[in-house]
Every structure is written in structure tokens, then in C-alpha cells.
Symmetry: D2
Subunit: 308 residues, 4 copies
């Protein structure tokens, strides 16, 4: 029986909720919904929960860039795991409701945008009312008769006792959201051989070639990036930091040397954690940058320096 | 008197509305509000309007990554101008409403997040109800008594006949949003010497070093980036394209050669336009990459080839 | 019957002589020996001959770096062809001389160095006298009895009526020399698809990263180097230029753009010619840098600029 | 009183001799002339002497590329010091000889080439006879009357009791030669803050971009090159290694990391030594690559890894 407590972007029935339940860490843990990403992160920062699960990439439920910005400042948090969830929208109704009964549909405005084609064809007369999240929309349908239907995940239907009237109504069937599990800084989870590392890199000044400089620190050690974004700092327009995911674990020699290199050329490097990749895909590590290659080179250097 | 028609993310009183009215192009033009970025862009694509003004960076009014994704696919649109607007939140009320009267506050959830500190201190008991945009929230306050106040721009207050009860209630006083004016592809606006070019770059495959390769195409011609984001393509997780802003105009020799170079190494280059920078800041162009340097080098090459 | 005249590093019987006779251009041409590389080059500069053949790489007959330095300054000359010759040393004697008769051996000091092992084993008592070239040594043996033998090529033996007493006496059986045929600047020889281009690159100042900058101009266009040397300029210690061979012909789009790029970043680019490779080996040209790729990219750029 | 023995390229009176006597290490040491660079190096390899002083760059006395090739193979030797000598040619005669007496001039053919202008103007009728070195020429003039004059250094004149009839007769007044003092491998001399490191780098295969890869290993750690040459290996035409000098000492963190990086990407790295620069010029070390920067980055990395 786990003693862990984990915050998530609630309420029950959100995609975050579904993602969290699919993770082994949630077994037996106390799962606490929070109304916003900020609130969930603050709970983790304050020690009210051990971890928080929040969307970080391509979410359909809210501000993912907001998550990045939240993590870039304030009391440090680090990522210890990630989860990717296919995003599939369903039309949820109270038991007994038929298509012809639907006048008012509640949903989050992003979900609305993603289901426009289906709505225009199947429910052209229906009024769509925005709610703060899909799960809130489902909850509203369950609790009152102001709305006739909600667009949300089928999990939200299960959470609130609603029926799935139609499933897969989104325009883009391959939609997905990446969630990260964050906690207070400590020794990163052990290497699995298929890991990822997340960083925030703050430049010393806006000098031409700064980005090339940063990327070279990675590439010269054979470390591949899987995501990069320049993000404006809060200070001034045109002042940027980079949010970066790379392959490998901080315990890997090549990743460690790259991070130390970045620490030397950046104003600040904020380490956001090393954690197993959700897809378990091990990186192709080119010749010359394995841990064995590093150890051998170090031994050779010591001998040349006359200490070997 | 202008014959132009311009779509914007409405309704009246949004930050997009305010940004558009500050642009000379709007003088005498017919300005049409649309409920979503998609709808505004579709109107421009269909030729129902000449241009559309939409938020593209760090907006507090909605999905900016959504704007990028919208522009990355479908019928091509190009950016012809940009505008940056300081974002300042006000508490708007119907005339006569006092602080002590406020029970229910309407606003967009992002604005809510940005004003949390002030709300917690000044209106700790108030219920905050999400609306699809700040302007819609203001409009609702004006038209009905369900809500007592809205959080939106003071321009929204003016648009709907509301009073500014308190101004500057956001946590971050330097917030801003960048908007772009897009239209159907045609010859880009003339060079001003302080221009920007926006591109979408699709990689041929996910090979290590692809990003470094791309950046080198820019840097070797002395072209600086001002923004970069890797964005997942719609196809598969882990398949990315890059959204990039660089200094300079496609008519600049260095930018033209960089674009041709990118065209050779990328699967697809989508040109999103060259347009004047909102801040009129001319780039520092290093020795060797001015148009004169290019012309001189070309003349030398011709002489070496024996054609000069 | 050719009207051409060609200078070479003489006298008759040198490796340069042998290399020249193996080149089709020498058929029917008037071949004129000169005592030094400088003298041969000066004859070509002055128009006394059409071309000069001189050693440029790994010669065993003299100062190849001297050739580079000669070509780097003065009246411009360009390379129009190259030839590579295996270097094989023979012990040459007047007819009738036996091993036991040999007391004094004449040769160039470099050839001496390359045959030290054989001499130590086979003629440990012999005195070795330096001459200004192997061919001069052979000539001396033919014309007088001061020396008993010469170390030179078997071709030198044939030229001066000497016998090859022992062949292949060099320590390094794979020795070779690369010769270049130079003439006054004109339109380069036509592309063969397996060409090489030679350049001298003078830096603007000794700034860190200058070499990386230069190499990037090549690599970004997929142009491979086959030789590079930093050479001190005549001005001051620590002031360098680069002598470079690359694959491809100045008429190739990728090579042309690289040269124009170098012209923009270097203080001076001295074009030393494009010419067929002696080994006829066509370069591996990566995707994106063929002439067709360049033409397509240029057409796309024109369309984007609104001129297509 | 020193117990050291040092070989040099002799005989007495060569530029190598002059260079060696200008170095503090020669004080009280036993100095032994050898007829060739090979012989001097072999004496050091065999332990017959402690060190050998040989020309390595831009010599006017012989094959400097030969020195590089000698050092690149065989029993390892490392450089422990360097010396640069201005090269100045004098016309040396036996006391009493006047210009009008001079019929036959002895010298090395490289010195001959460097004094051609002066000879053509001042001694147009004189016969020039090649000797194996300038010092041998001077010695010959001193010991016999076959020659009337020698072209060599004024030091050679002093060594053999000859008069300087005319000094500074070379075409290039700024000529110089760099010499290196080599010995058997041991702990390198202590850092001075103005050091240089010499390497031979053998590529794994002839892959495009190999050189760029190598240079990036240096540049990413802020290590500047002062000399680079691609040199053919003895194996086959087109198979190269690189001979490189860089700023800094193997004990410098940035140099050590660069060397370890090269060891990982090259087939072989041959360390030729770290030693004080002859000019005492300290390198400009950019921010981020000092030893203090390295130590700080390593401490940060340890803390991130949870071991700090």
C-alpha cells in the first residue's frame, strides 16, 4: 500500500486523471485533483503532495506553454516520469438522451475547436457553451439539466455516470498529450537506458549564434534533442530562454559533460530532471560517446598527463 | 478611404481588437470580429476578408500554439505585418457597482491565472466563472446581471460601456502579446531594413544533428533567429517540424541564400512571410553578409569562372 | 602536332620529367627543363612557356611547401591538371660498374634519407655526396668519374645512359609525388564530374574560430576537403593563410556558392584552379547539393519573392 | 653544471646550433651535432642523448615536413620546448677575400633560392655549388680553397673563422625557423600560462566532415589552433592525418577535455607534448572555459546528480 500523494489537473475524468491512472506510481496512491496546473504544482512545491502530474506538450486541455513557464520559475521542481495519452473525444449524455434531444453542449473551448467538423455536420443547430475543462463540462451535464451533452473523454463519462453516445468525434484522430510527473528535487530516478532529460537554458545575452553554441554543446557529445522551444522571459520582449528535452540521463557521461558545458556557456541552466521515456525507446548512441568510450578517453588523458 | 476588410479574434474589446486599431492598415478598413483564430484565418483563406489579425506569441487570450498549427497546414497564408501589445488587466463593472457588490467575476481562464494574486487579496470570496475570452466576459457583464464584474482590457470596458473599477491587476506587469496580420500569398511587403521572416521547416527524417544543420544554414549567412520552436507534426509523436522567426527580409541576399539552402536540406520549407518588425530595430549585420558583399562575391566568382 | 611549350623541374630524368611524359598534354609539346621550381614558374608567368609542371605534395625532389609559397604570391598562375607518380629509387651506374666498385654515391639529400636502410646494409662503406637533385646526380655520374653511382629514378638512368644496378632501394615502397600543371589564368578546363579545386585563403585577422568558419563555408554546401595546410604568411610569425584542395569544380553550384562565401569571409581568396582529378574518382555528392537541387531551390526562392 | 646531452642538426654553425645555444637548457649541456634530422631523433629515441633540437616549421635548412613525418611514426617522442630563430643570410669568406675575388660560392640549395636576387645583382658571374647544408658550405670554405665564399649564417662564420663580407643578403628579411626540443615521453613540463600543445590526429575513415568534427572538439572548449596540416599517411594516397598545434597545456581543463574528445572521435591521437610558447604570449581564454569555470560546472553537475 503506497503512502504517496499525487496532485493532478482535475476534476476527476480529465485526460490528466486518465494518464495518471495508467501509471504504476498511482497504484494505491492518494490522487488529488486541482483546478489548475498552477495549483497542482504549488501543492507539490509546498510539500502537500509528493508529486504532481501536469500536461506539458500539445495538450487539448489548457495552457501547456503555461506549464513550461510555471516550471521555469519559482521553487524548483523536477520531472521524474512522463506519460503520453491518446486524446479521443466522445459525446457524453445522461442515460436516455438521444441525438435529437441535444440543444446545448458543454465543453472546453479547445475541445470545441477540435470537434468543429463533426459538430457542424451532426449537430449544426446545437449551442456550444464553454466550460473551464472537459471534465467540468461532463460533471455539469451529470449534475444539472442546463446542458444536454458534454464533449470530453470517455473516462470522464465513466467518472460521472454518463453514456458515450458517439466516440471519436475529434477532427484529428492521432491527437495526444504528454504529461509529466514532477516532484521536489532529489537524486534522479535510476538510468533505464531509455531516458530523457529536460532543461531550461538562459542565455547570457542575446548574441547572434547563441543557439548554435548551445546546440553544439549537445551535438559534439552525440546527445540528440527531442524538443526545443525558445520562450520569452518575463523580463522583456526579445529576451529568450530555451526549453529543451534531450535523449539520455544525467548519469550518462555524454549527457553529464554536455550539461557541464551548457553550465559554462549559459547564464543559468535549470535542470528539470532525467526520467524514463514513456515509449522505452533507447537512443542510437554513436561511436565515441558511450560511457565506455568516455572512460577509455579519460584513462588515456591521465596517462598523457603523467598520472596514469 | 480604404476598401480593405480585416478579420480579427473578437468580439469587440479583445486585445486583438486593440492591437488592430493601433495599426495604420486598419484606418478606414472594415474590421470583422470572429469567434476563434481558426474562423478568422478561414475567412482570409476563403477571400471573405483581405487579412486576419491573430495572436501568435505569448497571448493571454488563447492558444497561440494553435495559431502556429493552423498556419502550418491548410491553404497557405503569409504574414505581412506584426504588432505587439502590452497586456494590462482591469476589473470592469457596470456603472455604479462597488467592490463590496462583487460576488461573481467573469473572465477567460488564462486571465484568471494571471490575476490570481490580486483576486486572492482583494476579492477572496468572489466566484470566478470562465468565459471563452475576456471580451466575451465583458460583454456578458454589460448585457446581463448574472455576473458583477469582468476581468479584461480597459478597451473592452470602453467597447461595452463598462467602468474601470481597478486597473493593472495582473501579476505580471510586463505581459504582452504579439499579433500577426496574415493574408493570401503575394509579393512580400517592401524591405524596410528592419524586417523579420517567418518559416516552417519540415525535416526529411528524424536524424541526429538535423537541427544543427538547419541552424548552420542560417548562421553561415549571418542570419539571426529571434524565435524557434519544435512542434510535433500531426502525424506521429516524435515527428517534429520547426517554427522559426529570423531577422531580415527574403529580398536580402543573405536571407534568400539561407532560404534556398534550407529548401535543399529540408523536406519542405513553408514560407510564412517577410514583414517589418514592430519595433523597427534594424539587425546588426556582420561584415561579409550585406547585399554589397554578396554582389561583390558574385562578381568575383563570375570572373574566376571566366565569364566576367 | 602540338604548339605547346611546357616547363618542368629538370634536368632530364627527374620525377617531374617522368610525370610530364605520362600526361597526354605533353604529346608533341616542347618540354623545357628548368633548374628550380621558381625558374619554371617564372617562365610560365612571363609567357615564355604555356605551362609549367611542378611538384606540390610529398615530393622527394625538393621543397613542396616552397611550391605552395611560390604559387601563393606574385603574378597569379592557375592549376589546369595534376599527375601523381609513384616514386621508386634505383642505384644507377655507368655500364660495367659492379657493387664492389662503388666508393662514392651521388644523390639528393631527401633521396639519401629515403634509402638509408638499404645503403647501411648494402654499401656501408660508401661515401654519399649530396647533389641538388637526383637527376643532376645521375647526370654527374654519366659525365665524370668523380662518382661511381647515383640514386635516382630508372628514368634518369635511361636519360643519361646509365644502367640500373639495383631497383627499388627506397625504405618506403608506396612513396609518390603529386605534380600540378600550371598556366596563366583563363577559363578553367571543362568539368569532368571528377574534379578538384585549389585555393589559398587569407584570414582577415587571427581570430579564434576563423578556421571553423572557413570549413563551415565548405561543409554547409557539402564540399569535401582533400587537403588543408595552414602556412605562415611572409609577414609575421603567427600570421597564417590556408592552402586548401576541395572536391568539385568551380562550375559546380555548390563549389561556386562555397567560393563566393569564402570570398565574403576571408580577406583574400586566391583561386588556384579547377582541374580533373588524377584518379578520376567522382565525389560522393550528398542529397541537397547537386546542381539540380540548387536550380530547384533557386526557382522556389524566386517564386517566394514573387518574381517566379 | 648540467649532465644533459642534446643532439642537434649539425654541423656547428647551423641555424639549429644557433637556436640551441640561445636556449637556457643548453647551458653546460653536451651538444652533439648530427648530420640529419632522422639521426638526431634516433639518438634521442635510443637514449644516446636526452633531447634533440630539430626544425619543424618553415626551415630554410631542410625538410620540415620530414620532421613531422619522422615524429608521427616510430618510437614516440614528445616536445618539451620550442625556439624560433630569425633567419639571416651572410656572405662568408676567408679573411682577405674581396668581392672581386669570388668565383665559386657554396651553399645549400634552399639558401641559394632565398638569395637569388642579391646574387643576380652582385655576383652575376659566380658559380653556385650546392652543399648539404649552409654550415657544411661554410666549413668547406674554411678548410679548402675550392670555394671562395659560402652563404650561411654569421654564426657559421664565427664557428669556422670566416669573415662576414656582406650581411642580410636574403630576399625575405623576415624569414624564421621554428625548432622544437624533443625527448622521450614523461610528465610534461609545468604549465606557464602561455603554453602550446602539439598533436597528430588520425581519422577513422575518410568521411566528409571529419575535419569539421575535429575542429569542433577544439572550438567548443574554446581552444584555438595555431597550426594545422593534413599530411598523407604512408599507407595510401588520399589517406590523411592531421598535424595540429593548439594553445594551452594538457593540464588545462579545456585542453584536457578537448584531447579526451579527440581520443573518442579519432582512430588515434598521438600526443606530441605540451610546452611553453617561445613568445610567452598567453592565450585569450574566453568566458566559460577557464579552469575555474570547469570546476564550478563540475560541482554543479555533481549536485544535480545528487552526489554533491
Amino acid at each position: 500500500m503506497s503512502d504517496l500523494s499525487i496532485a493532478y489537473l482535475g476534476p476527476r475524468g480529465t485526460f490528466a486523471d486518465a494518464a495518471l491512472r495508467a501509471m504504476p506510481v498511482s497504484d494505491g496512491a492518494r490522487l488529488e485533483p486541482f483546478p489548475t496546473v498552477s495549483a497542482a504544482l504549488d501543492a507539490a512545491r509546498a510539500g502537500e503532495v509528493d508529486y504532481a502530474l501536469v500536461p506539458i506538450e500539445n495538450s487539448v486541455e489548457g495552457a501547456v506553454t503555461g506549464t513550461l513557464d510555471e516550471l521555469s520559475g519559482g521553487v524548483p521542481l523536477v520531472i521524474v516520469d512522463e506519460q503520453v495519452l491518446a486524446v479521443r473525444f466522445a459525446l457524453l449524455v445522461r442515460p436516455g438522451t438521444a441525438m435529437s434531444d441535444i440543444r446545448r453542449v458543454a465543453t472546453h473551448h479547445v475541445a470545441h475547436a477540435q470537434c468543429r467538423t463533426w459538430l457542424a455536420e451532426q449537430l449544426p443547430e446545437a449551442e456550444v457553451i464553454p466550460e473551464s475543462s472537459n471534465a467540468v463540462a461532463a460533471q455539469s451535464v451529470a449534475e444539472q439539466t442546463t446542458y444536454d451533452a458534454a464533449i470530453a473523454s470517455s473516462a470522464a463519462g465513466a467518472a460521472y455516470g454518463l453514456d458515450v453516445l458517439v466516440d471519436g468525434i475529434g477532427d484529428n484522430e492521432e491527437a495526444w498529450t504528454r504529461f509529466v510527473l514532477v516532484g521536489r528535487p532529489s537524486t534522479p530516478p535510476a538510468r533505464t537506458g531509455a531516458d530523457k532529460t529536460t532543461l531550461f537554458l538562459y542565455m547570457r545575452e542575446d548574441h547572434p549564434g547563441a543557439l548554435l553554441e548551445i546546440l553544439t554543446e549537445f551535438s559534439v557529445r552525440g546527445v540528440n534533442l527531442t524538443r526545443i522551444e525558445s520562450r520569452p522571459t518575463r523580463k522583456a520582449l526579445g529576451d529568450y530562454y530555451f526549453s529543451v528535452d534531450c535523449e539520455g540521463h544525467v548519469e550518462d557521461s555524454r549527457v553529464g559533460e554536455a550539461l557541464a558545458g551548457l553550465h559554462r556557456v549559459c547564464a543559468t541552466v535549470r535542470f528539470l530532471g532525467s526520467y524514463p521515456r514513456h515509449d522505452g525507446k533507447a537512443p542510437r548512441v554513436r561511436r565515441g560517446v558511450t560511457d565506455a568510450d568516455y572512460a577509455e578517453a579519460q584513462a588515456w588523458l591521465s596517462s598523457v598527463r603523467g598520472q596514469g
